[in-house]
């Protein structure tokens, strides 16, 4: 991390170790479970988390992989926006 609160595309982010990320069949959605909390993720958020956090890639690499699914669209600003939010909420943190 170059700066404590600004994410960079070259960062590798990981899931907060106290969080669990999984598909929940009855809800038909991905969820984040953490101490006394639940977040239901929409399909886009879940896809970004899955690609840009759960695979150990840098944010830029994850975004590039995602772009392949969407005809090479430029997703960087959307991804960064979500990642900033997830970081601010403490769902994800920089890999140490």
């Amino acid at each position: 991390m170059h700066n404590e609160d600004r994410l960079q595309p070259s960062d590798i982010m990981v899931l907060n170790p106290n969080f669990h990320f999984r598909w929940e069949e009855p809800q038909q959605s991905h969820v984040l479970l953490y101490p006394e909390g639940i977040v239901k993720l929409n399909a886009t958020a879940a896809e970004i988390l899955e690609m840009c956090v759960m695979r150990g890639l840098t944010v830029a690499e994850g975004t590039e992989q995602l772009a392949h699914r969407y005809d090479g669209a430029d997703l960087m600003s959307d991804v960064m926006q979500f990642m900033e939010l997830a970081y601010a909420k403490g769902w994800i943190r920089p890999k140490s």
Partner: protein, 375 residues
């Protein structure tokens, strides 16, 4: 419990996402704000290990995700580890809500092995003298030892502080203690006035000035500590103009099972005397949640009266708390009297005024401690 201020309004698609199991009402502590029924000793007919396991399976089938083991003191049940193990296997995120009394370092390790995910430990004060006054037993040193063990075992931990006028001035010291212990979440749970807390309300309510100072200390600490420590501040709703969005609505996402198997939309609901709450020994959980008259009684907003019926906030606050409406106005379908639009708001204002003007007492001696004789 969902945290006030989390800003999350969770659509559970009609499923009981939060399952709270009160394994027993027994507890060695005597907290004068206990949320258990005042006549807790009447409910000795606790569900067996197998009955709890059946219930956990049914809960998962209904879509429950978060599971809270609570009480009374849940660690008094010898089968806690076995139930945690089963819950973990079923896919719940398992939370233990405990006073720490009844836990030993070895038991903390056993629970970790059984798959427990998180521990919420209550702490009433940062010094042993006040702690003993408030809970009736000398358990402070033990609680701290257990807190350290919980962290050493790698659990995420919520330190829960039930806040009254007796400990609210320790806000800053409690924050320092939480930071020192390395807990992730600190919850200042200003008391909600039901059951035992209601009996002691006149004595427990903080003053507005105390509340303001406490909030300022929390704000400063959030600034200072950042992501190291998440501090929840559950406001005492009496001091608010708008009612709390209690339970995210009646029968919306919360399901509590009392020690005797009674199913409740919240842990206090049993105090609404004119509702016959169903029991898991007699009905399927599916029927209880979807069909039972008790759970349908205040679901949605068809039941609402004025001023809620025509109020735009009804989808945000669900008319507040049914239990509070029942306790203070005599009718659970009334608007929560905390709401400034309620014709009963004066009741709350009178209570607050009384707290501001009460004579200062030296200690906590006036409190009526939780005890069996009261039952």
């Amino acid at each position: 419990m969902p945290k006030a201020g989390s800003g999350l309004s969770l659509d559970g698609l009609g499923m009981p996402l939060w399952l709270v199991v009160e394994l027993t009402y027994k507890c060695p502590l005597k907290c004068p704000w206990c949320s258990n029924p005042v006549d807790f000793d009447r409910y000795r007919n606790e569900l067996s290990t197998e009955e709890w396991k059946d219930l956990l399976r049914e809960g998962r089938r209904l879509g429950s995700l978060q599971l809270g083991f609570t009480g009374g003191e849940p660690t008094l049940r010898k089968d806690l580890e076995e139930l945690v193990d089963e819950a973990n296997r079923l896919g719940y995120y398992t939370n233990l809500i405990t006073s720490g009394v009844g836990l030993s370092p070895q038991r903390v390790r056993d629970l970790k092995r059984a798959g427990l995910k998180q521990v919420q430990l209550s702490l009433q004060s940062c010094d042993s003298e006040l702690s003993e006054k408030l809970v009736g037993l000398d358990v402070f040193a033990h609680k701290i030892e257990i807190a350290r063990t919980i962290k050493a075992e790698g659990f995420p931990m919520v330190m829960n502080v039930p806040v009254s006028r007796y400990n609210i001035d320790q806000t800053e010291a409690l924050i320092d203690l939480a930071a020192d212990l390395g807990v992730e979440y600190l919850e200042f749970a200003n008391l909600q006035y039901y059951n035992w807390a209601l009996i002691n309300r006149a004595d427990l309510l903080p003053t507005r000035q105390q509340l303001k100072q406490s909030e300022a200390a929390v704000a400063a600490a959030r600034e200072r500590l950042g992501k190291r420590l998440t501090i929840y501040f559950v406001v005492p709703d009496y001091f608010d103009e708008r009612p709390k969005a209690c339970m995210n609505g009646w029968g919306a996402i919360h399901l509590t099972i009392a020690p005797d198997g009674t199913a409740l939309p919240c842990q206090e609901a049993r105090l609404i005397k004119d509702i016959d709450f169903p029991n898991v020994r007699e009905h399927s959980l599916d029927w209880i949640w979807r069909e039972s008259p008790a759970f349908r009684r205040f679901r949605g907003d068809d039941w609402m009266k004025e001023p809620c019926r025509s109020c735009d906030d009804r989808e945000k606050d669900f008319a507040g708390c049914r239990c509070q409406a029942f306790l203070l106005t005599g009718d659970a379908a009334n608007t929560d009297p905390v709401c400034s639009k309620s014709p009963h708001r004066y009741l709350i204002d009178d209570i607050l005024l009384e707290a501001e003007n009460r004579q200062e007492r030296a200690g906590a001696d006036a409190l009526i401690m939780r005890a069996r004789c009261r039952s």
